[in-house]
Symmetry: C2
């Protein structure tokens, strides 16, 4: 496969990953660390995954200003000008709108795959094949396409996409009937059983022109923030324009701003061995377990009467644990977390409390 010159990839890597504290830190969030012990950061693995589809000059990274230097270090073959550094933390819609405007200015014919930087994909060949097919579809249609993951369990941590009418000429691609936010467990079981619902992967494919048209229609507020820059994108004036304009963008997700509203949204259903690695339980689910259901990451553990727990350490260390069931034990040099897996939604609040009480020292 030779990457087409008009195919672009936008990787969103500005998050702070606070649900993975204390492993994910303000200065070095989850996507930049060798999270799975493979020797590559999640971001590097994401870039490696799209290399068969897009040449390095066409891979763009949208991130927060503070992470630009980490990215240059981790991805030396990506041109520095391809790092779009947001001057403020907003949600995915402004990020995507800026990137689409920037790329349109480079190439009016551009098609874009937009993806998070911190997901796990086990079936890389299936990924490449699905993305290639999906890109062909959006290149030939004014369509917004998302990848829908075949669910394997009743996850309550994911959004779901309900499939609609299949397209005759495009196997595996269907009109989207509805988007659903994270369901409760009963609803998730129903979704799984029905066969109609797919996990929302957060991977999007479209032409630059298609997504910008959708912004005009569905999210004119965000569109208006970038409209005055039309002649400045991909010029030396872009940085200055963004510095002033970007902070005034609303903080809104692409799902809420566009995907749930537009009438040209499609889903391609895929089986990728995918996880969003969004929290400790997702990591637990994707990890190998010992006979007591325990997962050990980068540490020596003597686990006595411990079950279904995850032990993760940064650095050479031993953990001796007794009587923990369904716990996360995550240790770093200056922060230790001990938390039941089913209470991990509280970690984000803990992080806020730490910030309030101790400043940034432990974040």
């Amino acid at each position: 496969m030779t990457p087409s010159k008009s195919r672009y990839c936008v990787i969103m890597c500005g998050g702070i990953g606070s649900r993975f504290w204390p492993f994910s830190r303000n200065e070095m969030p989850k996507q930049f660390i060798d999270f799975l012990g493979t020797g590559r950061s999640l971001l590097q693995m994401t870039v490696d995954r799209v290399r068969p589809l897009v040449s390095p000059e066409n891979i763009l990274l949208v991130t927060n200003l503070r992470y630009a230097s980490i990215i240059r270090e981790q991805l030396p073959d990506i041109p520095a000008r391809n790092i779009l550094a947001e001057p403020a933390r907003r949600n995915t819609a402004p990020c995507i709108c800026w990137a689409a405007n920037h790329i349109l200015a480079r190439d009016p014919e551009a098609s874009i795959m937009t993806l998070p930087s911190d997901h796990l994909v086990l079936k890389e060949e299936a990924f490449v094949k699905a993305m290639d097919e999906g890109m062909s579809f959006v290149e030939q249609n004014n369509a917004l396409l998302t990848l829908g993951i075949m669910p394997t369990s009743p996850q309550t941590g994911y959004g779901y996409i309900q499939k609609g009418t299949p397209l005759a000429d495009w196997p595996g691609i269907m009109k989207v009937k509805s988007f659903t936010e994270k369901p409760d467990i009963e609803m998730a079981r129903f979704f799984l059983k029905s066969g109609e619902f797919f996990w929302n992967s957060g991977i999007f494919l479209w032409k630059s022109s298609s997504i910008l048209e959708a912004f005009d229609k569905c999210d004119p507020k965000t569109a208006a923030v970038f409209a005055p820059g039309k002649t400045l994108f991909n010029t030396p004036q872009e940085e200055n324009f963004i510095a002033h304009a970007f902070p005034s963008a609303p903080s809104i997700s692409i799902d809420y701003a566009i995907m749930e509203k537009a009438d040209n949204v499609f889903v391609k259903t895929v089986d990728l061995g995918w996880s969003d690695l969004g929290n400790w339980s997702a990591l637990y689910e994707t990890s190998e377990r010992d006979e007591n259901g325990n997962v050990t990451r980068n540490c020596n553990v003597l686990a006595r009467d411990c079950h279904n727990s995850i032990f993760a350490v940064k650095g050479d260390k031993i953990i001796v644990a007794h009587d923990l069931d369904n716990f996360i034990v995550a240790d770093t040099p200056n922060a230790l977390l001990i938390c039941p897996i089913d209470k991990e939604q509280l970690i984000r609040h803990d992080v806020m409390d730490i910030s309030d009480n101790f400043g940034d020292k432990y974040l």
Copy 2:
């Protein structure tokens, strides 16, 4: 009080304190660390406590060879020749027999107080008064005296001493009726209620000649190990003699070898605010607790739904913990322990397992 020239103090500081792993380490056991955050190690605090009773030239430290340099550093005013470095790890009886022989060679009239290096005494004035009275008693009698601590709770971790007939001339001193090993909780409650039983402090007072006579009678095996060195103690030949003789001594405690067998054993009952700090629960008991019964040592803790637990850290670190009841969380740079307080007797086994599996690295 001017310390008498014939009064000696022997402090036993050769233990490895494995019940306090991972805080107590092979290279730096509990007695050498600033365990209570006072700025002084437990050993330094023990020496400070006896200074009103004994001059520095008469304070001897019996320890393992590997700790001699730590002691010289922590106690610069104690003469280096007062450090008796054991070439092998034995129990308390050989340690005490050697020290008594050594001191007898220096001074045939010597009286000795023998104490552990790692206990807590809150009432220091009461300690000095009791020790002074006790030393007078043993100086005037062929008696083996131990301090019995007024129990304040039904501890199952201590040995107990049953008091017998009081001595008319020596208020607070009684003949010992029996020694009892660590009781179960029911027995401990009975002991507490009876008023007849006292905690065995492991603090012993006697003349050199008295304890050596007792060794001859009650533990001739240990006595025989040191007998050939009679003319060598306190001479340049002592070190060489000990290097060869000491390892052949049996590993036996002074309680078992002498105190439970001799017929001239007495107890002085005292209230010292004493703890042997022998394990995490003893430390927990002597520490200030917050409104949830949690104890925090040297760390910032966000404890959510945690109760009656102890959090201890070496170094600047934050702990976030959820849903721990009656747990020990003890963290050091290369070892982390998470263990229910009521299972802490297992820590010693953990330490042995770590030794078997990983060598000394984490000990």
